[in-house]
């Protein structure tokens, strides 16, 4: 027993020293640069190393599987079926031509027409563009997030500690804050920067001269709640959003005390006029910060930009579009809110290798006199999609939760009716 004592104290000493070293390192490498907005470039090196490791690991696993003759299961990027892009008319005509060999110019009905609708329907069930947007983008090379456990727990612990530290600092600085905007703006920025480093986020900002100014609205495509942190760490914004319960609600209340944001109750959100009125008031006050808005309304998985809702574009202020694109190899930032909640999502973010993304600030746009809000929204959306290399989809983001309207079906029905009975003029003739 006596022999153990000196050993114990040795262990304790070692522990103490290593903790001190760890905290000093934390301070020097993370907090101080965050305060001054300087980067050591360590994260870039980290990213390059990770890439090399992924490539090596992929090769090894593929080679190993080939040796053992296991059929590899790889997720696919481009969909699972081969689709031919033909229109309704073309394909039905072809079916009729091969089936009956009769004259095709007269409108008529064939029993075989049904094959077209049947196959198209089943094709959609097997693979459709929109649902793919809503599941996370599939990767070509595995990113080891769930393939191995080695190193996984170690990194997650470290990151959780960092994030916890970031959160702590935010609370300590924000809650007692009552004073001038200048100071609070800087504190906000610092806190966001700490969060960014805690997440090991490597962000590349492009065209920073186009950054949003006071009295304007900043509009960006939305993939994850982290978008907010990423944008806010590079500029001063007023947030708009729904008041959440729980953890988010506490944070939101703290933020409101520090500087003027615009928060709404859930019921108020439905009243579009009220929302528009409050936003307009905020925007017209030139001393207030630019509003940050994500018009899509839900999280898309970062390969496309869905239809922007027109509300924010009716206000008439200058719009500063921003395109955000995540590199999915390092960590999937997509949040499927119907599958898991905020805390699970944050944990996943904390435990991914890194968050790598690019932010492009696009030149400001204003609504032209001859276009209405919807056209303006579409113009902004296309600009964002083009810049980020995202696919510009016509569908409304609300599809994830609601059923589809009937008007689209009518168009197909109209097309088909023309083929079997012709137009109104033809019918009167025959």
């Amino acid at each position: 027993m006596f022999l153990l004592l000196p050993f114990d104290s040795l262990v304790v000493n070692l522990l103490g020293i290593s903790l001190t070293v760890l905290f000093t390192l934390l301070l020097v490498f993370i907090i101080v640069p965050a305060i001054f907005g300087v980067s050591f470039g360590i994260r870039k090196v980290y990213m390059k190393t990770l890439l090399k490791i992924f490539q090596w690991a992929t090769l090894r696993i593929e080679r190993g599987a080939k040796e053992k003759n296991h059929p590899l299961y790889k997720p696919y990027v481009n969909g699972i079926i081969a689709k031919e892009p033909t229109s309704l008319e073309e394909e039905i005509k072809e079916i009729r031509r091969s089936g009956s060999g009769k004259a095709l110019d007269t409108p008529e009905f064939e029993l075989s027409d049904i094959f077209y609708f049947c196959r198209k329907g089943i094709e959609t069930i097997m693979d459709d563009e929109v649902t793919k947007r809503f599941s996370a983008e599939e990767l070509e090379s595995w990113n080891l997030l769930s393939r191995t456990n080695y190193n996984f727990q170690y990194i997650s612990l470290r990151l959780t500690v960092l994030w916890g530290l970031g959160m702590l600092i935010r609370y300590c600085f924000l809650l007692p804050l009552r004073c001038k905007e200048f100071l609070s703006k800087h504190v906000h920025l610092m806190c966001y920067r700490i969060c960014v480093r805690a997440l090991t986020a490597i962000i590349t900002y492009h065209d920073r001269e186009n950054r949003p100014r006071n009295g304007g609205i900043c509009v960006a495509n939305h993939t994850s709640p982290i978008d907010v942190i990423i944008l806010a760490s590079d500029g001063y914004y007023a947030m708009v959003g729904q008041i959440h319960g729980g953890l988010m609600g506490v944070i939101q209340r703290a933020m409101v005390k520090a500087c003027p944001h615009v928060w709404f109750e859930r019921s108020e959100v439905r009243d579009r006029h009220l929302v528009a009125k409050r936003l307009t008031e905020h925007v017209q006050d030139k001393s207030k910060l630019p509003i940050l808005i994500f018009p899509e309304g839900t999280c898309i998985n970062n390969t496309s930009v869905m239809m922007f809702k027109k509300g924010s574009f009716e206000i008439g202020a200058t719009v500063y579009p921003v395109a955000i694109k995540y590199d999915p190899q390092f960590g999937d930032a997509f949040w499927n809110s119907s599958k898991y909640g905020m805390v699970t999502y944050l944990l996943r973010m904390m435990t991914s290798w890194a968050i790598v993304c690019s932010v492009w600030y696009l030149p400001p746009m204003t609504r032209q006199p001859e276009e209405d809000a919807v056209q303006f929204a579409n113009r902004v959306k296309s600009a964002i999609a083009r810049q980020g290399g995202l696919v510009d989809l016509l569908w409304d983001g609300g599809l994830k939760r609601e059923k589809v309207k009937d008007t689209f079906k009518e168009e197909q029905q109209k097309l088909y009716s023309k083929m079997i009975v012709g137009n109104h003029e033809d019918r009167s003739r025959s």
């Binding site: 699972i80 009905f109 049904i114 077209y116 198209k120 459709d128 029905q413 019918r427």
Partner: protein
């Protein structure tokens, strides 16, 4: 998501033998099944399929969804899902038993059942009219559509009973390359 570990569904081997789909194809379909299953129930409901906008704009949406939920069932598990989709496996070049799900006979029967609303093995005039009405919506007035349905029935009905049995239907579309029209190629 992303590189989530792929857990194979239970009974994969048996399902593969029954449907003629390869295990890799079944894995991919299982992934799709899980993506369509919105609330992670472990089975599909008609609402899951109807929420697909590409399907909702298909005039035959109800009939196609009905193929997965026979006799008023409200749940479709993965084997059911796979069995229906197995009808669309290309038969060319791949060995398949004459009665297997991807044989031309089975494909034709699948389409026949889309017309045969009550499942009695005969397509009646009313059933043909109803399916036609689904396909054209409100565009065509009743008399015109009735004329179209009557003519189609007359031409295909060889027995003179006024309904189409499966053989009548098969004869009417016999020159069609059924396998090609009813096949969906999965990417390798």
């Amino acid at each position: 998501m992303g590189a989530a570990a792929a857990r194979p569904p239970p009974g994969l081997g048996a399902l593969s033998d029954e449907t003629g789909l390869s295990p890799a194809a079944l894995m991919r379909l299982h992934e799709r099944f899980q993506a369509l299953d919105r609330d992670d129930k472990g089975h599909l409901s008609p609402a899951d399929l109807q929420a697909l906008e590409g399907l909702a704009l298909n005039p035959l949406c109800e009939r196609i969804v009905g193929a997965f939920f026979p006799a008023g069932a409200q749940r479709a598990d993965f084997p059911t899902f796979a069995r229906v989709l197995a009808h669309f496996r290309p038969a060319e070049g791949a060995p398949c038993e004459p009665g297997g799900p991807s044989s031309p006979g089975s494909k034709l029967r699948f389409v026949f059942e889309l017309y045969d609303l009550d499942g009695d093995g005969q397509i009646s005039y009313r059933e043909l009219l109803q399916v036609l009405r689904l396909m054209v919506g409100l565009e065509v007035p009743d008399e015109a559509l009735a004329a179209v349905a009557a003519r189609a029935l007359r031409e295909a009905d060889r027995s003179g009973r006024g309904t189409l049995c499966f053989e009548d239907f098969a004869k009417a579309v016999e020159r069609l390359d059924v396998d090609r029209r009813m096949s969906i190629w999965m990417l390798k």
